[in-house]
Amino acid sequence: MYPITSKRTLAKGVIEMTVQAPRVAAHHKPGQFVIVMNDEHGERIPLTIADSDAKKGEITLVFLEVGKTTIQLGEDFNAGDALFAVVGPLGTPTHVEKFGTVVVIGGGLGVAPIYPICKGLKEAGNRVVAVVGYRSKDLMFWHDRIASVSDEVLVTTDDGSFGMKGFVTDGLEKLRDGGLKMDRIIAIGPPVMMRAVSEKTKDWGVSTWVSLNTIMIDGTGMCGGCRVHIGGETKFVCVDGPDFDAHKVDWGEMFARMKGYAKEERMAIEADHKCKLALEALRR
């Protein structure tokens, strides 16, 4: 069992949790993820490691309450409880070396996983320019934390309630217009955002990398549920990735595969919701 040591709500539906997982914390590198199981019968879901502390033996997870399992994790699990399984660190770590100037983009929940990447890139001697985007001011989190490991941070909000009004792609464009020479771009966030970044940078000649978060079960290359075409070849996100050259990703296939279980997921959430309502009615 893996004890939860802290939990707090960062923004509506966005939860930060620290979990005791000493072996994972000891070997975590930027870009890696864990597979989490809430309880013995739960799903195995991949969550990116947002931070780790080898000394304390802790990892930090940030997740959005969006599916049956993440909703349960957010609602029913608190500091003092324990998770049934935490496996990792999985995936090939983000390629970190001295590139020069690296623009690291985080959109929404994607802001959390770019923290260790910015940190790693900075330590490797890069000039790190972060672009973090949110829908609005009240959904903001960790932009200050990102600032602590970057040379510059540009915040965008879709509605203009904080920072620059617009999407992260608008922020990226602004940096370019301002004459920033980019040696590499890394983007993590919702698939639509990553695709938008990819499309924008395709003609710029700047190497652009994204972190894919596909459906997976074991996370070690066993099920192949996470497979997607990269440059015409089938790759397993869990072992070959999760980082891939954005310009080689078959985005159409990626989007279709993300929806492979949409119907079952919706039914599961509804069933859970009905269960809870029935329980509440019983209690009354």
């Binding site: 072996r23 994972v24 070997h27 199981m37 809430n38 019968h41 739960g42 799903e43 195995r44 049956k68 399992t69 049934f84 399984a85 935490v86 496996v87 990792g88 660190p89 999985l90 079960i217 074991d218 070690t220 290359g221 066993m222 099920c223 192949g224 549920g225 497979r227 997607v228 075409h229 089938t234 072992v239 296939e253 989007f255 279709a256 595969r257 929806k259 492979g260 279980y261 079952e264 997921e265 599961a268």
Partner: protein, 493 residues
């Protein structure tokens, strides 16, 4: 649970009396769930012998002085002895005797291809054709009886501690067998499993109706009771770096299996609804997706399912598809019936349950609907040419024979290869075809000092019993190595 065994009432041999074998009688068939009923549940298909049936069948055994069955058994279980114990009502002792040779008797009694091994060698075949002793069913009976009445814990003590620390990677049949033997030899064993439950392919691959998961966990508990420390959720090469393993242990056994699915690489294979057999089986078996009430993991319920391939795995898949409510579940195989690698009994069971088998047919691509879900498999007919390197006749496509099989689910079940995670993280470890670990077939030693490997990791996907044998033989070799690491006889692979 206390129980009394009245061997006279059961038809066996009384203490002090001589056995009069009834080898001319027919082999006692095992009761099976009715096909019409069983496709609506996940309970075991073959029901197992009652004590009376087991004694009756055991009484046919001649208890030969030179048993051919024992030679044919990959782990050389002392078959006449354990069957003799059943004839005499000593069911626990029978199970304990098997455990000397095999740590997983309840598993092997169920999934071992006995018809090609011990039972094929049985001398009774010579005089009473097609009626060998039902060795597998008797093995299962004694093992189940023991597990039911004793928690399945060890009877014998381990040898005194040697002080050596060894590590086993992977808790499938090979890893468990190796760990059990090493512990009995007095070594301190840490066994690491990547998934959240120990058992490897016995948990994620073989379905409940062929091998109940509760049985697997009891066998695992037996291995634990020998003092083996099993830690789940540890992916060696990630959670625990290979370097730490090499530094922390005096010997290492890699039994990481063959868990990487092969795909055909044809157009449409990444459509939704197209699964690798591993994914489909893992969802249903390990994650218990069949148990909708409690499981958090979904599986798409197939209506029309195409299963590509005709091995053990393909038959497991097609039978699961039927249990999930498929109206049509079809095996598509590129060669003919004679070449199908699946086990006779499984093929028979699948057909009884309504599976369709389409031979000499191979998919060429899959067609999807507007949402990216598979809607048909485009297949082509094949004919058999000259034998290939495997000795089987090579399938050759028939030009212009393509047609569509409408389906909403496809499961690609054309084999598995070992995972590259350990080989790619262990400098100096020689492999062939990228991921199969090279190991000496007698000593199981790899090209890395103190690292041994066995089971599917060195052969590619094979059977539980062959993996078990590798585990046992490797344990013996590792024991010799630990006691005298400077000895030169174990030339690496």
């Amino acid at each position: 649970m206390a129980e009394t065994i009245d061997i006279v009432k059961l038809g066996g041999v009384k203490e002090g009396e001589r056995k009069k074998p009834r080898s001319k009688e027919k082999r006692l068939e095992i009761a099976c769930q009715n096909p019409k009923e069983r496709i609506h549940n996940y309970n075991e298909v073959a029901l197992g012998y009652s004590p009376e049936e087991a004694v009756t069948e055991s009484m046919r055994c001649l208890e030969c002085p030179k048993p051919r069955c024992m030679v044919a058994c990959p782990v050389h279980i002392d078959i006449p002895t354990f069957i003799g114990l059943i004839s005499r009502g000593k069911f626990h002792e029978a199970a304990e005797d098997i455990r000397k040779y095999n740590a997983l008797p309840a598993v092997c009694g169920r999934v071992c291809p006995q018809e090609n091994l011990c039972e094929a060698a049985c001398i009774i075949n010579d005089t009473n054709a097609h009626n060998p002793i039902a060795i597998g069913r008797l093995e299962r009976f004694s093992a189940d009886y023991h597990l039911l009445h004793s928690e399945g814990e060890r009877a014998a003590q381990n040898k005194p501690s040697t002080g050596y620390k060894v590590c086993v990677i992977g808790s499938g049949p090979s890893g468990l067998s190796c760990a059990a033997d090493l512990a009995k030899m007095g070594h301190k064993v840490d066994l690491f499993e990547a998934l959240h439950k120990p058992g490897g392919v016995m948990m994620y691959g073989i379905p409940e109706f062929r091998l109940p998961k509760a049985i697997v966990q009891k066998e695992v508990n037996y291995v634990r009771s020998l003092g083996v420390n099993i830690e789940c959720n540890v992916v060696v090469g990630r959670t625990l770096p290979v370097k730490d393993v090499l530094e922390g242990y005096e010997a290492v056994y890699v039994a990481s299996g063959a868990g990487y699915p092969n795909m055909m690489g044809i157009p449409g294979e990444n459509l939704n609804g197209v699964y690798s057999a591993n994914e489909f089986l893992t969802r249903v078996n390990l994650m218990q997706a069949w148990n909708e009430g409690t499981a958090g993991t979904p599986v798409r319920k197939p209506r029309r399912c195409v299963v590509v391939g005709a091995g053990f795995t393909a038959f497991d898949v097609v039978r699961i598809a039927l249990r999930l409510g498929a109206e049509e579940a079809r095996i598509v195989y590129r060669r003919s019936r004679e070449e199908m690698p699946g086990r006779g009994e499984e093929i028979e069971h699948a057909e009884e349950e309504g599976a369709i088998i389409t031979v000499l047919t191979n998919p060429v691509n899959y067609l999807g609907d507007e949402n990216g879900f598979v809607r048909a498999a485009v297949v082509q007919k094949m004919e058999l040419g000259e034998p290939d390197s495997s000795g089987r006749r090579r399938p050759i496509p028939v030009k212009g024979s393509e047609y569509e099989i409408p389906c909403d689910t496809v499961v690609v079940s054309i084999g598995q290869t070992p995972n590259v995670l350990i080989p790619s993280n262990m400098p100096g470890l020689a492999t062939k075809w990228g991921s199969i670990i090279k190991a000496n077939r007698e000593t199981y030693m790899t090209t890395v000092p103190k690292v041994f490997a066995g089971g599917d990791a060195i052969t590619g996907a094979a059977t539980v019993i062959l993996a078990t044998r590798a585990g046992r033989e490797a344990a013996r070799s590792m024991d010799a190595y630990l006691r005298d690491p400077a000895r030169a006889w174990y030339s690496p692979a």
